[in-house]
């Protein structure tokens, strides 16, 4: 598969602050690629560099093998869905969608026909004459999507596109976007701080932290084999422990809360084979519905969270201050770098 976009040694500084340092990655054509990270981690800067709203301080950005680092945004064959949609308030929905085609000097009849088809595709065909201000948030989001697709870009950039929607709508739009990606076969690059969104939609996810990429992997690999403590904690929730609790070296290990089991060990009893464990003191239990989160603290003051099925009779015994043993299968434990 050919490369859609590639970052080569990209650095971005704003005055004295470094927003990105030595970023290298490439996105394949037709891939759904997500850039995930907390705010200020550099993921949005990366998107703006691809769109051309900012330019790299060092390094180059290549689009299908061509260096586009210095091209202004209006010369790049990529289009963006903005976080706040950025629809033009003085134009109708149809004119908004047709805007890119109008700028490209396409005739009125032909561009309006195309815009109408796109609006039909996002199920807003009847809203063409309305102003953006007359639409709901979800509808505006779909207009922004139609507008960004009108010029058939090589890459569709999505900047936190679902951030402003409520939970139900967001989940529906996630499925819709994924479906759309499959139908169009375009390269999608999504920026999000919501790990659930990245995991559920993307083929591959790049996790950003403090201006660099911690790990690029498939959602499954990110979750099951996080390489760093940051990734383990940011993608899903994880307990990060010092290896010194079990063996000599101080390398960190990660263990997901759902893999942790709790028991009371009577004297002379041992934890089952192929498991490791630590003695802990229960701090609190939180009922979450199907599961109950049990917070406990190990000898070296490391806190651990375990997700126990709420139906487990063991839970009734776990009161604050209770001594217990936390254990898990060795294979579920991940060594961190």
């Amino acid at each position: 598969m050919a490369t859609a976009v590639e970052f080569v040694g990209v650095e971005k500084r704003f005055g004295g602050t470094v927003a990105l340092q030595n970023v290298n990655f490439s996105v394949e054509q037709g891939e759904f690629f997500a850039m995930l990270g907390p705010s200020g981690s550099g993921k949005t800067t990366c998107l703006r560099l691809i769109a051309g709203f900012d330019f790299p301080t060092q390094g180059s950005i290549q689009l299908e093998g061509k260096d586009i680092s210095a091209l202004p945004p209006f010369q790049r064959p990529v289009n963006t869905v903005f976080q706040d949609y950025a629809l033009f308030p003085h134009m109708s929905v149809l004119e908004n969608v047709a805007y890119g085609l109008m700028i490209a000097n396409e005739g009125k009849a032909s561009r309006e026909k195309k815009a109408q088809e796109l609006l039909d595709m996002v199920r807003l065909g009847t809203m063409a004459k309305r102003r953006p201000s007359e639409l709901s948030g979800g509808q505006r989001q779909r207009v922004a999507l139609a507008r960004a697709l009108a010029k058939q870009p090589k890459i569709l950039l999505l900047d936190e596109p679902l951030g402003a929607l409520d939970l139900k709508l967001r989940e529906a739009m996630q499925a819709e976007l994924k479906q759309l990606h499959k139908e169009l076969g375009l390269t999608f690059i999504l920026v999000t701080h919501d790990q659930g969104e990245a995991l559920s939609m993307a083929d591959r996810v790049a996790v950003f932290s403090e201006g660099h990429i911690e790990q690029i992997d498939t959602p499954q690999a990110l979750y099951n084999q996080p390489k760093t403590a940051f990734v383990a904690r940011f993608v899903g929730s994880a307990n990060v422990l010092s290896g010194s609790l079990f063996w000599g070296n101080a390398n960190e290990i990660a263990i997901r809360p759902e893999y942790i089991k709790l028991c009371e060990l009577k004297s002379g009893e041992k934890i089952p084979a192929k498991h490791v464990g630590v003695p802990v003191t229960i701090v609190a239990t939180l009922y979450l519905g199907a599961q109950t989160r049990v917070d406990c603290v190990a000898q070296d003051a490391t806190t651990l969270s375990a997700h126990i099925a709420s139906t487990d009779p063991m839970l009734t015994k776990l009161t604050s201050g209770q001594k217990a043993h936390a254990y898990w299968l060795t294979e579920h434990m991940v060594n961190l770098v």
């Binding site: 209006f74 903005f82 706040d84 490209a104």
Partner: protein, 303 residues
């Protein structure tokens, strides 16, 4: 039952508090302002008896129709033409200035520009008008500079040959008067445009560029339409201030009355209150026409 009575009492109390707070403003707006304006305009349906010089309290359109005759109509047209010219040129000058302030100037440069625009407003109006008269006079700075450049004669021949802008010298020409109006009202045009440009979200401009528009196309298709309300607001100032001013045409410029001067002399020296009232009706009607035209041209579509 008891509870709802309490709720009604509380509601009443709120209404009274609100009315009490609004009372001074309402009194000012309705009685003092609108009342006296209406009282003034009411005068225009009376007429002045030419022999006795007394106001005849008979309702009719005689006085208002007088506006459309001979010299009176010239005054209306002259003032309107000046107001239109000042508004158009002020907008043309203010737009690039405001655009630079909002999108290109650094923090410091922007502060300096703000001060440069606002500082003249801190000085006395009369001082500025008379200062301009000195500047524009034959002995003034402008003639001196043009003289040094060898251009003073061409200015004079321009002023003598073109009737609409001309006059004996710059200080007694419509061109001179126009320059003073432009200087005086330019800040009133710049500030609303700056405010309007500041409200254009950066993302909107990015979106336009993202869809392939060059900076100039973005300006024409996005920035300018979103700025129209500000330009129109600035135009209300420059237009109505020019229509109502009676000092500048008196101090600078070619002979010939303006609406403001006419109102001033008719109600004072001449004592023809009905005609003064009829003249003061003109700016109100023109502003209304201006706003309805702006609305029809879609200036408020972005609001």
């Amino acid at each position: 039952m008891q509870a709802s009575a309490t709720a009604i009492q509380a509601q009443n109390k709120r209404t009274w508090t609100l009315l009490l707070l609004l009372f001074p403003a309402l009194l000012w707006l309705t009685v003092l302002y609108l009342g006296s304006l209406f009282g003034l305009l009411w005068q225009s349906i009376y007429r002045l008896d030419d022999f006795s010089g007394q106001v005849v309290h008979i309702v009719g359109f005689h006085t208002i129709l007088q506006l459309f005759t001979g010299a009176n109509f010239d005054i209306v047209m002259r003032t309107t033409a000046m107001a239109v010219a000042v508004t158009i040129v002020a907008a043309t000058l203010a737009l690039p200035l405001a655009y630079t302030m909002v999108f290109h100037a650094g923090k410091r440069q922007r502060a300096i520009l703000y001060v440069a625009i606002l500082a003249p407003m801190w000085f006395s109006y009369l001082v500025k008008v008379y200062g301009w008269r000195v500047l524009l006079s034959r002995e003034g700075l402008i003639y001196w500079v043009l003289g040094r450049l060898g251009l003073a004669d061409s200015l004079d021949s321009l002023l003598h040959s073109v009737p609409a802008i001309g006059g004996a010298s710059l200080a007694s020409s419509f061109l001179g008067m126009f320059l003073v109006f432009l200087y005086m009202w330019l800040p009133f045009m710049v500030l609303p445009i700056v405010a309007a440009l500041e409200r254009v979200p950066q993302n909107m401009l990015n979106a336009s560029a993202d869809l392939g528009a060059t900076p100039w196309q973005t300006f024409r298709k996005v920035t300018l339409p979103l700025t129209w309300p500000g330009i129109i607001a600035g135009g209300i100032f420059t237009f109505s201030l020019t229509l109502g001013d009676y000092i500048i045409p008196q101090v600078v410029g070619a002979p010939g009355y303006f609406i403001g001067m006419m109102v001033y002399t008719q109600q004072g020296t001449v004592g023809n209150l009905p005609l003064a009232a009829a003249f003061s009706l003109v700016p109100i009607l023109l502003i209304m026409a201006y706003l309805s035209m702006a609305k029809r041209l879609g200036a408020f579509d972005a609001l």
